[in-house]
């Protein structure tokens, strides 16, 4: 190919980055796992790439929070839109009315529930730190002659599960209280949204409860700590998100009623 052609080509081809070959630019330089990868394979073979698995699971969780957030944002947007909407007055059939009825939320009960969830978020964090510490110390235990003193094994997981279940029961009681006050799911648009938001949050939290219950059972069975560390770690972060989300929903329902 002639030199002239290349010269011409150069005007139409992007500059080709011909560098001295090197590897490992930036963030991409991570080796894929050699053993025990595939974060959710549920296997725990004490693989050396344990940190990578944890990081991957955390990344997966962070990504998973985006659609959950979008889900709630879309319902909140619908709430705001519906609140400002004028609807046809079926009595006069000529004019429009604003038919938004503020829901009388059982404030005291919801505050208690929020306190329960706040406490459970703290205990979830304690469980996360406990399991991190156990995982870090696990290799030392196998060394003969090394004693780590008395095991501090306060059942943070069980406490978290209990508090979380308490919150869900409290939410159920809040629904009953709403029903006592005459607000059913289909009573008005406002009550529909209250039930929808609390139920959607409750279902998400129940998912976390089930996962932590699994982790608590695994810890009772004296399985190695690696078997539950990632699960506990990721669920604790999820739990904190669920707590923040609940505070957001509660504040929204209270101040935007």
């Amino acid at each position: 190919m002639s030199a002239l052609h290349w010269k011409f080509m150069a005007t139409f081809s992007p500059t080709i980055p011909v560098k001295i070959p090197e590897a490992g630019h930036g963030r991409g330089g991570e080796q894929p796992p050699i053993i025990g990868g595939g974060g959710d394979s549920g296997r725990s073979d004490g693989s050396p790439n344990y940190g990578q698995r944890l990081r991957r699971a955390r990344l997966g969780l962070a990504v998973a929070l985006a659609p959950i957030f979008m889900f709630f944002i879309s319902i909140v947007s619908a709430y705001i839109m519906r609140q400002g909407l004028l609807t046809v007055d079926d009595r006069s059939s000529t004019g429009y009315i604003r038919d938004w009825i503020p829901v009388q939320l059982p404030l005291a009960l919801l505050l208690v529930n929020s306190a329960l969830l706040a406490a459970s978020s703290i205990t979830a964090e304690m469980a996360r730190r406990q399991v991190t510490r156990q995982a870090a110390l696990a290799p030392l235990r196998s060394i003969p002659g090394v004693s780590l003193g008395a095991e501090r094994s306060f059942p943070w997981l069980a406490v978290t599960v209990t508090l979380g279940t308490g919150f869900l029961i409290g939410q159920w009681m809040a629904w009953q209280e709403l029903a006592n006050r005459g607000f059913y799911v289909a009573t008005s648009a406002s009550s529909s949204f209250v039930y929808l938001l609390t139920a959607a949050h409750g279902i998400h939290l129940a998912g976390g409860v089930i996962v932590l219950l699994y982790a608590a059972i695994v810890s009772l069975l004296n399985k190695p700590v690696e078997a539950r560390r990632i699960v506990v770690d990721v669920t604790a972060w999820y739990w904190h998100f669920m707590f923040a989300l609940w505070i957001g929903i509660f504040a929204f329902l209270w101040f935007m009623k």
């Binding site: 011409f8 081809s13 959710d40 619908a78 799911v185």
Partner: protein, 576 residues
């Protein structure tokens, strides 16, 4: 056994674990592909019935009988839904993406293999639930693939709006969850599992397209899920999210105060990104193939990446252009109109760069290249009518006409399908270890390209002449009489084009078993999937992990010994 130990999970032995509930992303990719293949034939059969009904409205068809107006609407609904969800969303992203994304970035599998298997089987369940709507009491729903309320929100608004509509919504909700799991896996895999040296800006454009598509899916499907849940509540619990005070058959419904517009906003907030979910992977495949078969680097790699990102971002702020007819504020219509036309800029950048890649290239006109050029052609033809419809003053007269049908079928339907054809022809040797028949591929390409233009181009004229869409029967309408020959032509073109698809299927299955054996790199391409064996081993690279030294499109590099440099070639070039 080194290879197996090195993999995230050992190669399974039994048939069920190997081919049915497999954790291997390659098997899952093929599963998605064949699911979409089944779905596309179902969808195509429905479209054939519709076309036949449009020109012979009273014909009594064998097996199917006579098509009543409500049956026509059911066919329309199911055709749209199956095509959009189970074909356009499934094959390009989940099918090819699952198979080739991990290999192209040098990973042994997806980040979460179990989740990956779950996403496929959840999609499968969604498909079965969707098909079961045909057999529900009253038949399939008739509210269109967009499911506009209050038609979709009332159980007595028509045949098919009882159980059929509930199944339809449930299927879509299940599909949302499956897609969210898939998107989560794609994003984590790309961010966390790239091989050494595979920087983001060394990824093939296919990977970029799958990445941005996954982000779109991640943000859009959650919203569709919530919209679907509200719809189910309206239908079954008596809430009034979408249903205003409404009278059906002289009977006042219990609902009041809801907003049909709310459904449209939520649906199209998903629905417009969905258009790009369907087309972006095709753009990635086209870029890959145009570069490889022109033996030139892709023109403006960075511009291509930023254009994909720009399309992704803009795709989220234009949903209102589907709603110009809804009586929304003219000010917001204006804003949506401007944003929509702005999408023309990154789209034009991509088209310009594809043409720049072809310009003065040493083009190899093999079937993958033909399909990729077909993709560009259809993308341009279908895309050019976009700015027309983006303007409220033009959209309002054209919106409910065949013009829109022609527009979106060209760009979202057939262009994306050509992306799949291109992907199939390009990657078939790697997937099945054999070459597809080139002659059959060319015959299929020519017939399909000409056929689709014959079907969808005249629809633009029909639309401008005022032929409404969604109407089951207009042979009796006087002003449409003159258009009937054109409609007849379209139907014949559709029959021929559908027949041509059997050439593709025959080629696919025949080549799978009888095609000539493929080498590891039959197209002399540079990306990682061509460095491994054909078909790839269970852990993709046979026990070692590749190290990447080059960008993905180093063709005809001056001074290089060959006209292409593999991404994993440590030597690179000796001179220059």
């Amino acid at each position: 056994m080194v290879a197996q130990d090195a993999h995230a999970h050992a190669a399974p032995q039994g048939f069920i674990r190997k081919y049915v509930f497999s954790l291997d992303h390659k098997v899952i990719g093929v599963q998605y592909y064949f699911l979409a293949l089944v779905a596309v034939f179902v969808g195509m059969a429905l479209s054939l019935l519709m076309r036949v009904h449009m020109i012979w409205p009273t014909a009594v068809l064998p097996i199917f009988g006579e098509i009543k107006p409500e049956t026509y609407l059911q066919l329309l609904t199911m055709h749209g839904t199956i095509m959009v969800f189970f074909v356009l969303t499934t094959a390009p992203q989940s099918g090819f993406g699952n198979y080739f994304l991990p290999i192209q970035i040098g990973a042994p599998d997806m980040a979460f293999p179990v989740l990956n298997m779950l996403s496929f089987w959840t999609t499968f369940v969604a498909f079965i639930v969707m098909l079961s709507a045909f057999f529900a009491v009253g038949g399939a729903p008739l509210h269109g693939w967009t499911g506009y309320a209050p038609l979709s929100a009332l159980t007595n608004s028509g045949p098919g709006e009882q159980l059929g509509a509930d199944l339809w919504i449930t299927s879509i909700a299940i599909f949302c969850i499956a897609s969210l799991m898939g998107a989560l896996n794609f994003i984590t895999t790309i961010l966390d599992l790239r091989a050494k040296g595979m920087t983001m800006m060394r990824m093939p454009l296919t990977c970029w397209a799958w990445f941005i598509t996954a982000i779109l899916g991640l943000l859009a499907f959650g919203v569709l899920l919530s919209a679907g849940i509200l719809l189910l509540l309206d239908r079954n619990v008596g809430t009034s999210f979408y249903v205003p005070l409404v009278v059906v058959n002289g009977q006042v419904m219990a609902h009041k105060g809801g907003s049909p517009l709310l459904w449209q906003h939520l649906f199209w907030f998903f629905g417009h990104p969905e258009v790009y979910i369907a087309i972006l992977p095709g753009m990635g495949v086209a870029s890959q193939i145009l570069s490889t078969f022109s033996r030139k680097p892709i023109f403006g790699y960075k511009a291509m990446v930023y254009a994909i990102m720009a399309i992704g971002i803009l795709g989220f702020v234009v949903w209102g252009h589907h709603m110009f007819m809804s009586g929304m504020s003219p000010y917001s219509a204006f804003a949506f109109s401007i944003m929509t036309m702005a999408i023309g800029v990154p789209s034009a950048i991509k088209t310009f760069n594809w043409l720049g890649t072809l310009y003065k290239g040493k083009i190899r006109f093999q079937s993958p290249m033909l399909y990729a050029i077909g993709f560009v052609s259809l993308f341009v033809s279908g895309g050019l009518s976009g700015p027309f419809l983006a303007q409220p003053v033009l959209d309002i007269p054209l919106h409910d006409t065949a013009f829109v049908v022609g527009h979106f079928h060209l760009i979202m339907g057939v262009a994306a399908i050509f992306g799949m054809f291109a992907g199939t022809a390009y990657w078939f040797p790697k997937m099945f270890g054999r070459m597809m028949n080139e002659s059959l591929g060319r015959i299929h390409f020519v017939m399909t390209l000409i056929g689709t233009y014959c079907i969808f181009m005249p629809m633009h004229y029909l639309g401008m002449a005022g032929q409404p869409r969604r109407y089951s029967q207009f042979t009796e309408v006087a002003y449409l009489h003159k258009l009937m020959p054109l409609n007849t032509f379209i139907t014949y073109a559709a029959i021929v084009t559908i027949a041509a698809q059997f050439i593709f299927v025959i080629n696919l299955f025949w080549s799978m078993f009888k095609g000539p054996k493929a080498s590891d790199n039959p197209w002399e391409a540079t990306t990682l999937e061509w460095t491994t064996a054909t078909p790839p081993p269970h852990d993709n690279f046979g026990g070692h992990t590749p190290v990447v030294y080059h960008g993905p499109y180093e063709y005809s590099v001056p001074g290089a010994p060959k006209d292409y440099i593999m991404q994993t070639d440590p030597a690179g070039v000796t001179a220059h």
